[in-house]
């Protein structure tokens, strides 16, 4: 197989390199495929399924699926958008996401995806789960009400910080993000500058005392929808 090849996304031919994922190749070509659990610099995880595309007609997660010469990928279609909307809506109702007072508002990837995909109000019933907040650490707090179980903190702590501060416990609806060995964040080696803290796409892991320091109008997604940084690379 050639090292450099091309494939098709939504009718456009784009270049790719051997070993690249579909998502990565699309990014470089300025085509945005929605995603949540994937983050540059972290190993792909394939958990959220928001990046699902059709590869030669079959659903695959673009963040884990390697690009292949000549494949036909569908991304920006009505059906896929509808499916992504449903996934996002389920994430909203499975947690306690109150954007109106959440300090991550305007900087939150989940909220931004909701806006980009045009979600008005979730069509599923809210579940209002009981989730704990861990505020024991002097510089960082975890509000599990807003965790979407993307695992970005787990991978960042393990692979980038070399610490293993976060992992999952429980299964299914009881699955939670937890901290290693003990139940208190204060007893871990976590530092506020750790990559794991910055990795959280939502308002689940936050630096303390920052709050609403950035005014409305100057937050990341106040003016441009999520993905526009990638799309601005399009030739």
């Amino acid at each position: 197989m050639a090292d450099n090849f091309t494939f098709i996304i939504d009718g456009t031919e784009i270049p790719a390199r051997q070993g690249q994922t579909i998502l990565k190749a699309a990014d470089e070509a300025g085509i945005y495929i929605p995603r949540l659990c994937n983050k540059d610099g972290l190993e792909p995880y394939g958990a959220c399924r928001v990046c699902t595309v059709l590869v030669n007609g079959r659903p695959q997660s673009a963040c884990t699926q390697p690009a292949q010469p000549g494949i036909i990928v569908e991304n920006d279609t009505e059906e896929l958008t509808e499916m992504r909307k449903q996934l996002i809506e389920m994430l909203f109702v499975e947690g306690n996401h109150f954007c109106m007072f959440c300090e991550k508002s305007g900087n939150c990837e989940l909220q931004a995806l909701g806006y980009r995909l045009g979600i008005a109000a979730p069509r599923f019933p809210f579940m209002f789960p009981q989730r704990e907040l861990d505020a024991t650490h002097p510089e960082v707090f975890v509000d599990r009400n807003r965790c979407i179980l993307c695992g970005r903190c787990v991978r960042a702590s393990r692979d980038q910080d070399g610490k293993n501060v976060f992992q999952f416990t429980g299964r299914g609806i009881k699955k939670r993000i937890s901290v290693n060995a003990t139940s208190r964040l204060a007893d871990t080696e976590l530092k506020s500058a750790d990559k794991a803290v910055a990795a959280c796409p939502v308002g689940s892991i936050l630096k303390k005392g920052v709050g609403y320091a950035v005014p409305i109008g100057e937050r990341i997604y106040d003016h441009k929808p999520i993905g526009s940084d990638i799309e601005s690379k399009a030739k």
Partner: protein, 481 residues
């Protein structure tokens, strides 16, 4: 945090029921079919105190606006003031304090304008005995189209000020513990300067309507729903009216000071709340006088009565005229609230003018830092009166206690008295007449209670009035949509 989930469920449900709720009044008769007692029932939203438990302290100023839609900016600022204390900041950078003040005056300007033009002007322009079919905001728009437009534009001006200082017209984030998150750009400032003169002019006009109406109908209004009372307000250290910050003062009906020059941090030493079995809303009173004699009024009337002067020239001239009516003694006429409110409207726009010309608003030092204290009290004069916020915060930065006394709660006893007075004067026989219903509504409205907040948009106040005889039997019931 086991209460978390139920707390959360409340937010989703409570405001809806509140919007759909009516103000409810029960009138109790004695053996001679005379009014024994009037009770105004207001469902107060108290879920916040529970819900906020465990949340990080810096969330409170934003959170509280959502749970209490009564006057979000006042709650935002009162909570922020309490959190200034929590983070150990006693003095904000000038830019931060002035931005917050601008936000607050903007809110006053829009809230008072909305109340006056939307809810009150029909009563004043048509007389409150007029047919309700024309005595409403639509009637005003038909007969006085200019006035209706002014109301809308003034409200918008105030809302834009809120947007420029808090980031959003409703539920912004501007005030943060120890300061503010933005300043006012030159472009923003110029946007407001453009229409400023017009706003001042219109405020003068609205004030004139309220003043002339009161003067022309004084004889009748003087007794309408009126009674002697104490008055409570924050006043600036030098005695000036100050709606953003000051010391606690209470005066009696004659103007004698009961509480004066008190640091509001110690409010619990001076103010207590009585619980009555029939009401969800508590009854605050001045401790030294006890619940019987210690209740007081808050809001525009109380503020004008309690202050020594107003520090803007036009409003001060108007205050003097207002006080001259009662020979310098406190004015205890319930219907004078409207006049007082419009003096404050003028004062607010004068303050806005002063602030817009202050270059500190373009400063860049926005937040002060200090050492965490674990407890904070923030008081502010909201459009409807004194608002108390009190929090305790643990060493993990979580709120462990919140206590709020909102403006309408402070006015609870006075509103009940006003209804009682009107009922005594206008009830004849065992029937709730259309006239009585209207008069009760007009008396309650003078206080601009938060129950009318939910109905501002429609410009009406849904009301249920029930009449019980001495044997506790319901003898009449009327609903006013």
């Amino acid at each position: 945090m086991s209460t978390q989930a139920t707390g959360l469920k409340r937010i989703a449900i409570e405001p809806v029921t509140r919007v759909e709720g009516h103000g409810k009044v029960t009138l109790l008769l004695d053996e001679n079919n005379k009014i024994k007692q009037a009770r105004l029932h207001i469902v107060e939203f108290r879920g916040f105190e529970r819900f906020v438990q465990g949340r990080p302290y810096w969330e409170a100023p934003v959170l509280v606006q959502r749970l209490c839609g009564i006057c979000p900016v006042s709650h935002h600022l009162a909570a922020a003031k309490a959190m200034d204390m929590v983070v150990g900041v006693d003095k904000l950078p000038p830019t931060a304090e002035k931005m917050r003040r601008l936000m607050h005056y903007g809110q006053f300007f829009q809230s008072h304008a909305l109340h006056f033009f939307h809810l009150v002007s029909p009563d004043l322009l048509f007389g409150f005995d007029a047919d309700p079919a024309i005595r409403n905001v639509i009637g005003v728009a038909k007969k006085f189209p200019d006035l209706a437009v002014q109301g809308v534009m003034m409200r918008k001006y105030g809302q834009e000020l809120i947007r420029a200082t808090a980031g959003k017209k409703i539920h912004g984030t501007g005030a943060i513990p120890g300061g503010i998150n933005k300043n006012l750009s030159i472009e923003e400032r110029d946007f407001f300067l453009k229409d400023l003169d017009q706003m001042i002019e219109w405020s003068r006009g609205a004030l004139k309507i309220a003043k002339d109406y009161t003067a022309e109908n004084l004889e009748r209004l003087a007794g309408f729903g009126s009674f002697d009372s104490n008055h409570t307000s924050l006043v600036r250290e030098d005695g000036a009216m100050d709606i953003y910050h000051g010391r606690l003062r209470s005066i009696d009906a004659e103007g004698n000071r009961i509480i004066d020059d008190v640091d509001y941090v110690n409010y619990l030493d001076y103010i207590a709340e009585e619980v009555r079995p029939w009401s969800y809303m508590k009854f605050p009173f001045i401790k030294s006088l006890g619940p019987e004699k210690g209740w007081y009024r808050v809001g525009p009337l109380a503020r004008i009565n309690a202050c020594d002067f107003i520090d803007t020239p036009e409003a001060e001239a108007e205050r003097k005229e207002f006080m001259a009516l009662t020979n310098g003694k406190p004015n205890n006429i319930t219907m004078a609230y409207h006049w007082a409110r419009m003096i404050e409207e003028l004062h607010s726009i004068e303050k806005i003018q002063e602030l817009l010309h202050d270059r500190d608003l373009q400063g860049t030092d926005l937040v002060a830092k200090g050492d965490m204290r674990g407890e904070g009290v923030g008081l502010i004069e909201a459009p409807r009166g004194t608002l108390f916020h009190h929090y305790k915060v643990n060493k993990d930065d979580q709120i462990t206690m919140a206590n709020l006394i909102v403006s309408t709660t402070n006015n609870n006893e006075p509103m009940n008295r006003a209804v009682q007075k009107v009922a005594e004067d206008y009830l004849s026989g065992n029937e709730i007449t259309e006239g009585l219903l209207n008069h009760i509504e007009v008396a309650i409205r003078a206080y601009d209670p938060c129950l009318s907040c939910a109905t501002h948009a429609m410009g009406r106040m849904p009301l249920v009035v029930e009449l019980y005889d001495a044997g506790d039997t319901l003898v009449d019931r009327k609903v006013k949509e």
